[in-house]
């Protein structure tokens, strides 16, 4: 609108001051964007998580494991589309300091449950034919430069094989694409059958059953059914959807929401002072100018609005810059969180906060400008 040049020029009255204030706001909203973005991102990711997958583990604690015999019974539950399992193998490559996310599994079922994990059918075939075969996630394979055909020695402190050794050898028969899942997703799979026959101790159990359901809407029903099957046995189960599992894990880390909000609150509070102070200074310096505007016929209200809009421009512009900066950082977090973009809700929260900041810090000086008495101001009183 036509008053824009007037307001914009007013902002740049003292360039350094405006720039520093803006930079502070940019930094504050960068932090806000990062923290809230991650916070909301967790919630988002959890909500978005696949509801067509269920995880069955021992009710007492996952580490207790469930009997492999349960597999046949779970398969009979209506609504179960595909079934596989994970048994933690662990182990390390060359050195205990290079732990491997190794699991024993039933590969065909696994890739049926995880439909978004892409693998070439010939690799699955090879895995079926090679007892000592291993399927490795692409990024893990790249890390250690493993290629198909390599023989990998894996050391382990838990599993002694029947030869009495703690080093197991596996042959790389295939890789799969892990871009749709974050870091930490198991990506080193050996054949459960081989593991069972080769291990000296501790066979016969799995740590997680992985269940693919035909209808996501019925997921909770299927889960209840499975748990009912094994209720009151020595190995009771607890079946959860992926999002329930993730939420549970997150909650264990602590109340992230609270921490984020506390930090953001502290930051915004301190920022409020900075901005309010800047606006106050600016108005105080412009007393005679504001008086002149009133002389020219600008009403008291108009002058109040001008100052408020100036505060708004300052805050909004800088806040959006900070949020944009935060948004550009997110693609870099891909290795940790998988696909991650700044959630829209954070942008609107940020804009809302910027608005609030502008109003609260701009209102006192704007009011002061409104109340200005022309004659006194011009006379320097």
């Amino acid at each position: 609108m036509k008053y824009f040049p007037l307001i914009w020029a007013g902002l740049w009255r003292k360039r350094t001051r405006t720039i520093f204030t803006m930079l502070s706001i940019v930094v504050a909203f960068l932090l806000f964007g990062l923290l809230q973005g991650i916070n909301q991102g967790f919630n988002h990711v959890i909500r978005d998580l696949n509801v067509d997958r269920l995880y069955v583990s021992a009710k007492t604690n996952m580490t207790d494991g469930l009997p492999i015999a349960y597999a046949d019974r779970i398969k009979t539950v209506p609504g179960v589309r595909a079934l596989s399992h994970w048994t933690y193998f662990g182990g390390y490559f060359q050195d205990a300091r290079n732990p491997l996310p190794a699991f024993a599994t039933e590969p065909e079922g696994l890739f049926a449950v995880y439909r978004d994990l892409k693998i070439k059918p010939e690799y699955l075939e090879a895995m079926k034919k090679t007892r000592t075969g291993v399927l490795i996630g692409q990024s893990l394979a790249d890390k250690y430069h493993w290629k198909i055909g390599d023989r990998i020695p894996v050391g382990t402190s838990i599993w002694t094989n029947k030869q009495g050794s703690n080093t197991w050898y596996f042959d790389v028969v295939g890789t799969f694409d892990t871009s749709s899942v974050g870091a930490g997703f198991p990506s080193f799979y050996i054949n459960y059958a081989f593991f069972q026959e080769a291990t000296a101790l501790g066979g016969g159990i799995v740590h997680y059953y992985l269940v693919g359901v035909t209808d996501p809407a019925k997921a909770t029903e299927v889960a209840k059914h499975i748990d009912a099957l094994f209720a009151n046995s020595t190995n009771e189960t607890r079946t959860q959807t992926e999002s329930e599992l993730a939420q549970m894990q997150l909650k264990q880390i602590g109340d992230i929401n609270f921490i984020v909000n506390a930090i953001v609150g502290a930051v915004l509070f301190t920022l409020l002072f900075l901005t309010a102070n800047t606006m106050m200074q600016s108005v105080r310096e412009r007393t005679s100018e504001l008086a002149v505007l009133k002389t020219l016929g600008f009403s008291d209200t108009k002058v109040l609005v001008l100052v408020l809009i100036e505060a708004l421009l300052l805050c909004l512009f800088a806040a959006l810059a900070g949020l944009a900066l935060a948004g550009s950082v997110f693609p870099m977090l891909k290795p940790i969180f998988g696909h991650f973009r700044m959630p829209m809700i954070v942008v609107s929260m940020g804009a809302g906060m910027a608005l609030l900041l502008a109003l609260v810090s701009g209102l006192p000086p704007a009011w002061r400008a409104r109340q200005l008495n022309i004659v006194d101001a011009l006379a320097g009183r």
Binding site: K2, L6, A9, G10, G297, S299, V375, L378
Partner: protein
């Protein structure tokens, strides 16, 4: 000629701390349309207060102030602001240009309060600047102009909205003799050729000579004598 401004038994007092200070003790005066009036008097005489009342920057404690057909002493603050925008052009001793704006942007400010389009505004600004012979300095900021030039920009700003009345408070107070003469000539020209009614407060007798009439104030009352200048 028609009477443009009438002050009837106007008093004005301020409260300073705990004291009530009476500045004007019953002033009566009339200004005709097209006049160039100089208000003079020692400091503290109330001449600036009188000016402020005529310009609608302040309101009397009692009495009437009539400009044109408006009883401006009865207007609300908001209405008064609006009235000023349409009727008054103000020229200050220290120019009071907005330092962040260029000369032409400064001149444009009063027009922002009107409904004119951008093109129309630009046209008026050009005309005004030409009238004060500063069209070539349109894009300069006040800190790039001399005192005399700044005052001329201020005058352009004062006339750009075609006001009924030009009000000047010590317009030459901060200028050297040469610049002061230029400014006074400009004002006189505006009065003569454009027919602008001008009320000017000054204590510079040389500036007062350009006016068509002089009034003297002392201790809040008008002196009886008035001086008329010829052509």
């Amino acid at each position: 000629m028609a009477v443009l401004v009438t002050l009837r038994n106007v008093t004005k007092s301020y409260v300073r701390g705990k004291q009530k200070v009476e500045v004007l003790h019953g002033v009566d005066l009339q200004i005709e349309a097209g006049e160039f009036l100089a208000l003079m008097g020692p400091s503290g005489s109330g001449k600036t207060t009188t000016l402020n009342l005529i310009a609608g920057l302040d309101q009397p404690s009692s009495g009437e102030v009539v400009v044109g057909s408006n009883r401006i002493d009865k207007l609300s603050r908001g209405a008064l602001a609006d009235w000023r925008a349409h009727n008054i052009g103000f020229i200050f001793q220290f120019y009071n240009l907005l330092p962040v704006l260029t000369a032409e942007a400064n001149v444009e400010v009063p027009l922002l309060l009107t409904n004119l389009s951008k093109a129309q505004r630009r046209q008026r600004v050009q005309t005004a600047l030409q009238l004060v012979a500063l069209a070539d300095r349109a894009k300069h900021k006040p800190n790039e102009l001399s005192g005399g030039q700044q005052q001329r920009v201020a005058i352009a700003r004062a006339i750009v909205a075609d006001p009924t009345l030009l009000v000047c408070d010590e317009p030459t107070g901060d200028l050297d003799r040469q610049n002061a003469e230029e400014i006074m000539n400009l004002l006189k020209a505006l009065n003569r050729t454009q027919g602008k009614t001008i009320v000017m407060v000054t204590h510079d007798p040389r500036a007062a000579e350009y006016a068509s009439r002089e009034l003297h104030l002392d201790k809040g009352k008008l002196a009886n004598e008035e001086v008329r200048h010829v052509a």
